[in-house]
Symmetry: D3
Subunit: 230 residues, 6 copies
C-alpha cells in the first residue's frame, strides 16, 4: 500500500443524492437488495440526523489522524468524510477543530470506524457523526495513509464518490453508478409502503396482506392450543 491522495474524484448528482437521503438507510438498503450496510456498531453521536453525500475516503493508521487533515482539502460541499483504519481502534481521531474545518468546506457528515471526541460541541454544531466509539483519546500525526482509495469501513467496501446514506438506523454505501436505479427502486418501495401502512394500521394482518398463510402451511407450520404444563 503506497500512500497516495487521489484528486478530482467523481461524484453523483446532488439531486440524486438528496433523493437517497430522503429514502433513509432502511429503505435504500432494501432497494439495493439488502446489501451495502456498514456494521451496526456504527452509531450516531446524536439522534435525528438523516444525510447523504459523496464519500471522500480516508485510510488511516490506528491512533494517527494525519490523513484526516490531508483529506479535508479534497472535500467539496455535500461530501461525507469516510474514515477507515488499518487496525481496530477507538481513539478519538476527530474533534471540534477538524469539524470546524470540514464544516467550512460544506461537508455534511463524518463516518469513522474509530472514535470521535468533543461530541458535546459537535452536537451543538449540529454536525452529524457515525462512529464506532466516543473517546477523548488523542492521536499522533506520524504515519501516512491514503485518501480517496477504496476502503473497507466497518465491513463495507466504500469507493471514493460512492453515495453514503446515514441516519439513526445506521450507514449505507450506494455505489455511485447504481445510485440512480436504487433511488428509483426505493421511491417505488415507499409508494407501496404507504398503502400497506394504512392497511396494517386499520388492523389487517400482515398474514393476509402479504398472503403468507398458504406458504406457511406449505412449509409445515401447525397451530396447537395452549395446554398448561402444571
Amino acid at each position: 500500500m503506497k500512500p497516495v491522495v487521489v484528486t478530482n474524484i467523481p461524484r453523483a448528482d446532488r439531486q440524486l443524492i438528496d433523493r437517497l437521503a430522503a429514502l433513509g438507510t432502511a429503505t435504500a438498503h432494501e432497494a439495493m437488495g439488502r446489501s451495502g450496510l456498514l456494521k451496526p456498531y456504527m452509531r450516531p453521536i446524536w439522534s435525528g440526523a438523516q444525510v447523504a453525500g459523496s464519500a471522500v475516503t480516508v485510510l488511516a493508521q490506528p491512533g494517527d489522524n494525519w490523513m484526516l487533515h490531508v483529506a479535508v482539502e479534497q472535500c467539496q460541499p455535500g461530501d461525507v468524510l469516510v474514515v477507515a483504519v488499518t487496525a481496530e481502534n477507538t481513539d478519538g481521531m476527530f474533534g471540534d477543530l477538524l469539524a470546524t474545518s470540514v464544516k467550512s468546506r460544506g461537508v455534511v457528515g463524518l463516518v469513522i470506524d474509530a472514535g470521535v471526541r468533543d461530541v458535546k460541541t459537535l452536537t451543538e454544531m449540529g454536525f452529524p457523526v457515525w462512529s464506532r466509539a466516543v473517546s477523548a483519546k488523542g492521536t499522533v500525526k506520524a504515519t501516512l495513509g491514503s485518501v480517496n482509495v477504496p476502503v473497507v469501513c466497518a465491513g463495507a467496501l466504500v469507493k471514493p464518490g460512492d453515495v453514503i446514506v446515514a441516519d439513526d438506523d445506521g450507514v449505507l454505501v450506494v455505489p455511485r453508478k447504481e445510485a440512480e436505479a436504487i433511488a428509483a427502486a426505493g421511491e417505488t418501495r415507499v409508494a407501496n409502503e404507504t398503502s400497506k401502512r394504512d392497511m396494517l394500521a386499520s388492523g389487517v394482518l400482515g398474514l393476509d396482506l402479504y398472503k403468507m398463510r398458504e406458504p406457511l402451511a406449505k412449509a409445515g407450520l401447525v397451530y396447537v392450543e395452549y395446554k398448561d404444563e402444571d
Copy 2:
C-alpha cells in the same frame, strides 16, 4: 424443534400487570430474589418508557422475520412481543410496518434479542423497544420458527404469558404464577424504601441505617490513616 404456533395462551390479570409496571424492573427484580433479568445488552431505543405486559414469544431464525408476522395474530391488547433468535444476530427484524401492525392490536412494546430499524419513526410513534442492536439490515421470510413456545431471550427463560417488565434499567421476566406474590413483595419494598431514602437524604449513613458496622468489623475490615507514599 417442530415449528408450531400455540394459540390461546393464558395471561396474568391486567391490574396485576399494571402493579408490576409501576414497580419497574429494579424493584421487581429484587422482589423476585434477584432473578429473571435479561442480559444488560438489551437497551431501549428511546429513554423513559416503563411498561409491562404479557409475553407473546417468538423463536425466529437469524435474519428471518417471517414468524414475527405470524405472531402478530396471536397478540392482544396489553401484550409485549418477545423475540428470541436461534443464533446471535443483529439484523433489523422489526420496523415501522410491523410496529404499525402490532400497535393496531394494542401491543405495548417489543423485546427482541436482535436488531430493530426505523427507530426514528418508532420513537415518534412512542412505541417502546428493547433490543440488542439497531440496524437497517433487512431480513428474509424463508424459514419457520415458532410462536408461543418457551424461549431463551437474552439469557432468560420466557414462557408465553409470563409478565415482561421493562424500563430504562432493562427487561425482567416475571413467571405468570409468581406475579401476584412478586407484586406484593415489591410494593412492600417500595414502602420501606421511602423512609430509607428520607433518612439517607438527611445525611444518615447506610452504614448506620443498615447496621453494617458490626458485620464489617467481624468480617475483618480495618481502618487506617492515609500515609503519603512519596
Copy 3:
C-alpha cells in the same frame, strides 16, 4: 489484598479542580501528554454533564456493593466516587438510594467499572454517572473489598485523591500532584485553539495552518488524478 479503608486522604485544591473541569477530558488529556484516560466503554448515563472531583476509590467484588456503603462515609463535598471491581461485571451496584446518600454528602459524580440502575431517577436527580453498563441486576453485601486504595478502573490507575475529570467524551484521571501543571498546560492549549478554530472556520486548511505539506511530502505522500476503473 487485606480489606482496608484508608481515611483522611489528601485532595487537590477545589479551585484547581474547577479549572480542570472547565477544560474537559479531551483538552486535559492532551495536556497530560495523552495519558490517563479510562477505556471508552465508560459512558455517561445522560449527556451534557462535565464535572471534576477528588477520587474516593472503591475496590469491590463482582456483584457485591457492600464497600460502596462503606465508602460513602469517606466522601466529602466535591468528591467523585470511583468504583473498580476485582473481575469484569455489569451488575447494577449503585441505584437511587446510594445516589441519595452520596448526594447528601456533596459527591458530584460516580465512575463505576460495572453497572448502575435506577438511571431514570438518577437522571431526574441530575446525578452524573459514567459506567460500563446499565443493569437492574441487584447485588449482595457479603464480601469485603477496600476503600481509598489505588485501583485500576477501566484500564487506568486511580489513586485516592487523584482528580477525576469526566464529560461526554469519557473519564480522565489526573494525578493529584500533576494537577496544577496540567491545568496550566490545558489552559494554554485552549488559548491557542481559539485562534486556530477561527482560522479553520474561515476556510484555512489544517495542511497550511499546521505546516504539514512539507513533512507529508518528505514522508512520501503523492497526489494522483482519479482514473475511472471501468
Copy 4:
C-alpha cells in the same frame, strides 16, 4: 429465587446416553431439529473429548463457587456438572481440587458458563471441561445459589437430568424425555451420511446428490461468465 438443592433427580438410561455420546453434538443437534445448543463461546480446555451425561445443574453467583461444593454430593457416576451464573463472569470457579472430588464420584465432565483454572492439571487428569474462559481468578464462598433447578447456561435451558452431549464442536442439551427419539433420529442420519460421504468423496457434487439445481434456478440463481474489470 429461594436457594434450594433438589435431590434424587431422574436420569436417562446410561445406554441411551452412550448412544448420544457416539453421535456427537453436530449430528444430535441436527436430529433435534437444530435446537438445544449452548452458545459457541463455550470451548473445551483440551481437544478430542466427546462425552455425554446427565446434567446436575448449579446456579451460582458470579465469583462464588460455594454451590459447586454443594452440587458434588448430588452427582452420580456418568453425570455432567452444568454451572450457570446469575451474571456474566469469567472467574476460575473450578480447579483441580473440585475436579479430583467430582472425578471420585464418577462425573464425566464439566460445562461452566464462567472460568476454570488449573487447566494444565485438568488436562493431565483427562477431565474434560467446556467453559467460557480460563482464569486463575479464585472465588469466594459467601452467597447461596441452587442445585438441580432449571438453569439457562450459555443461552440454553438445561433441566436437571437432561442429557448433555459435548465435544470439540460445542455443547448440546437434549431434553431427557426426547433423548430416545433423538438418538434414533441421529443414528438414521449417520447411516445416511456414510453413503453420501462416499459419493461426495468420489467427486459427485452436492448440487446433484441433493438435487439442488432445480430449486436454485427456481429461486433465481443465474450463472455468468467472468469478465475482467480492468
Copy 5:
C-alpha cells in the same frame, strides 16, 4: 444484490502461489506494505497449516449454507474457498461432508467469516480451516447468495482469483495482479532477515542493527536511573 454465480474466474500461476505460501502471512503482509490482512478473530482450527490458493468467493446469508454447495462446482485443485456472510454469524456452515466434497476437488483450505463444525474430523482429514467460530449449529438452505463476486470477508476485500495466504498468524489476501511483485518483495525480505536474525541471536541489539539510537534521541527519548519511590 442479484444472486449470481460467476464462472471461469482467472487464477494466478500455481508456482507463484506456492512462492507466496512459502513466505507466510507475516512476511507477505509486510511485502504488501502492511495491507490485506483479515481481522485477527479469524483463527485456524488446528495449528501448523500454511497454505496459499486462489480464492473462490461465496457471499452467503447468515445461517444458510446453500451457496457453499453451489460454490463447490466452481472449485479447482489449489483453490481456497472464502466465505463471507451478509450479517455477523457464528453458525457451523461447513462440516465434514462439505470438506469431503471440496477435498475431492483439490481445494486446499477454507476461510469462513462464520462457524465451522466437525472440527475433530476436519483435523483428522488434515483439512485446514480459518474461521470466526467453531459451532455445531447447523444451517438451512433457503436463500440465495452469490459465488465469485467481490466480498468483504473479516474486514478485507477479496476478489475471486485473488491469492489467499493463511497460516497460524492469520489470513492474507494478495490481489492477483500484484502477486508477482509481492512474492518478489517478500523473498528479498526473507533474504535480509536471515542475516539480521543471526546478528540478533549473537547479541547485537536492534537499537544498533537498525541504527535507532539517533532517531530516538532526536524524537526526545531520555534515559533516567531508577529511583525507588518508597
Copy 6:
C-alpha cells in the same frame, strides 16, 4: 507522559522468583488474597509453559513497536518483557526477530496486551508468550513511549521489577516487595492442598472436609426431593 527509559531497575532474587514459578498463577494468586491477575483474555500461544521473571515494562503506542526495540537493551537473564499499549490494539507487535533478540539476552517470556506474530516459529523456539491476540499485522516505528515505568497491562498495575508469574491459567503480577511473603504463603497452601486432594480423591466430600454444612444451613439452604413437573 514524557517518553523515558528507566535504567537499572531493581529485581527480586532469582531463587525467590523460581519459588513463585513453581507455585503457578492460581496458587500464587490465592496466596496474594486473590489480587494481581491480568484479565483472562491474555492467553498463551502454546500450552504448558510455566515461568516467572522480573518485569521489564513497556508502554507502547497502538500499532508501533519502536519501544520494544528500546526495551531489549534493558533486559537481563530471567526477565519477562511486559508490554502495555496506550489504546486497545491487536497488531502483531512482536515476532521471531524480536524473540531471537530477547532470547539472546536470557528473557524467559513475553506478556503483551496486543498481538504477536510468527507464532509457529516462537512455538518451535519454545519461547512463551501470553497475548491478547495473534495477528500477522505489522507495526510502524514512529512514536515514542516509555520503558520501565509503571503500566496498566490487561487491567493490572505492573511496576518494573515486579515478579510476573505466567502459565496456562493466565498471568499474575506479584509486587516485588511482597514476593517473599507470597511465596511463603503459597507454599503453605500447597502443603495443605496435598492432603485435601487425597481426601477428596478418596471420596470425602468438600461439604464435610471444609465443614460447610452448618454455614450453608444457617444461610438458608434447603433440600427438597425432585418432583416431576409433567
